[in-house]
């Protein structure tokens, strides 16, 4: 698969290192400094520029990409990048991380696959504290898997 990741923070860089073993990965970040997190042996491509800029995304090979994930530290940047990937470049699998649960809910309604790490982490801890199996958490993850398999 060809995968484009926007945002090379902790999540973006970790994800890139996981995927690069088996896939063709391009990471986009506003600063080249962020790429240090990928380590010196990283085999994927690195592109410097804003992930909401269509020219930058084209340079990152978004045309013809199989999957796109936006995980910058800005919710709005992530949402905008995800919409560009989905609506303009028709990338089959598009996922985005949104911290704000209310924003995540709105964009999930609008058909963007959102992972709201705030509510999933809170729900998971809640389940664990109260001694439940984390079923609601697993159910949410299951829905992302369904979405990915639909493609």
């Amino acid at each position: 698969m060809r995968v484009v990741i926007v945002g090379c923070g902790r999540v973006g860089s970790t994800l890139a290192r996981l995927l690069v073993e088996r896939h063709e990965v391009t990471v986009v970040d506003r600063t080249s400094e962020a790429f240090r997190r990928l380590g010196s042996k990283f085999q994927g491509q690195k592109i410097v520029g804003p992930g909401t800029d269509m020219d930058v995304l084209k340079r990152a090979g978004i045309e013809g990409a199989d999957a796109f994930i936006s995980v910058t530290d800005g919710d709005n940047r992530n949402i905008m990048a995800a919409q560009i990937a989905k609506k303009i470049f028709n990338v089959p699998q598009v996922f985005t991380r949104i911290y704000d649960p209310s924003r995540a809910a709105v964009y999930a309604e609008m058909g963007i696959q959102t992972l709201c790490t705030t509510s999933t982490a809170a729900g998971l801890f809640c389940d664990l504290v109260e001694g439940r199996r984390p079923d609601s958490f697993m159910a949410q993850l299951g829905s992302y898997l369904d979405a990915a398999q639909k493609v």
Binding site: T52, D53, G74, D75, I79, M80, K87, I88, S102, R103
Partner: protein, 218 residues
């Protein structure tokens, strides 16, 4: 009208002042606490602090009863999300967004934002106006960019001088919608004769814009 403006930079600030003067009910929402404080000292309770992308803040500020939402921040991604949240969550039909990168105008239209304003594009067009030889300037995009209003200033070399509007064969479904002569605006009667210096406003499909060159310029 109840107008909510998001972003208390210079655009938001002056827009708020003018709308208040014009008698509208206005709310200016600024995310940064210190900046919101300064705005409130000047504008009073019209200026409020809050993140215009957060559903809770939007509900508290009365987004549900707003007639128009104006996203005026310096960040395109924030402006996009403000407008989309207002539409999706609060059913706002009219949103106006400032667009900082001209490339985002078309994108915003595709993502459902009704009206965008790009200062960059306006200034670019003004410069083009100075240097463009045949004075053919797109001044507004309608229907998500499929239709354009194009302004054409007739130079001494224009082949349509001395001809009546009714005689001019326009490309496709293009229409002449107004004639500007000196400081007068005229409705285009078919008998009106075109003169040097006239500005012709035409409504044209975007892909036929270039065909207008052939009709109006030498």
């Amino acid at each position: 009208m109840y107008v909510i403006i998001i972003g208390g930079g210079n655009v938001g600030y002056y827009l708020t002042k003018d709308l208040v003067l014009a008698g509208h009910e206005v709310l200016l929402l600024e995310k940064d606490r210190a900046r919101a404080q300064r705005l409130a000292e000047d504008l009073g309770e019209v200026a409020q602090q809050g993140d215009g992308c957060e559903a809770r803040v939007m509900a508290e500020m009365g987004f549900a009863r707003a007639d128009v939402i104006v996203a005026a921040t310096g960040e395109d991604e924030d402006n996009l999300i403000v407008c989309q949240m207002a539409k999706q969550r609060f059913g706002i039909s009219r949103t106006i967004s400032r667009v900082n990168s001209p490339a985002n105008e078309a994108l915003f239209a595709q993502l459902g934002i009704d009206t965008t304003v790009s200062a960059t594009r306006l200034i670019f067009n003004l410069i083009e106006q100075e240097i463009e030889v045949d004075h053919l300037i797109p001044i507004a995009a309608l229907a998500r960019g499929h239709l354009e209003i194009v302004s054409i200033e007739l130079s001494e070399h224009s082949p349509v001088l001395g001809r009546a509007i009714g005689e001019i064969a326009l490309p496709g479904d293009a229409h002449i919608i107004a004639l500007l002569r000196g400081d007068k605006g005229l409705l285009p009667s078919p008998n009106a004769i075109l003169q040097i210096g006239d500005t012709v406003l035409t409504l044209v499909q975007q892909n036929q814009e270039s065909a207008l060159h052939g009709v109006f310029s030498a």
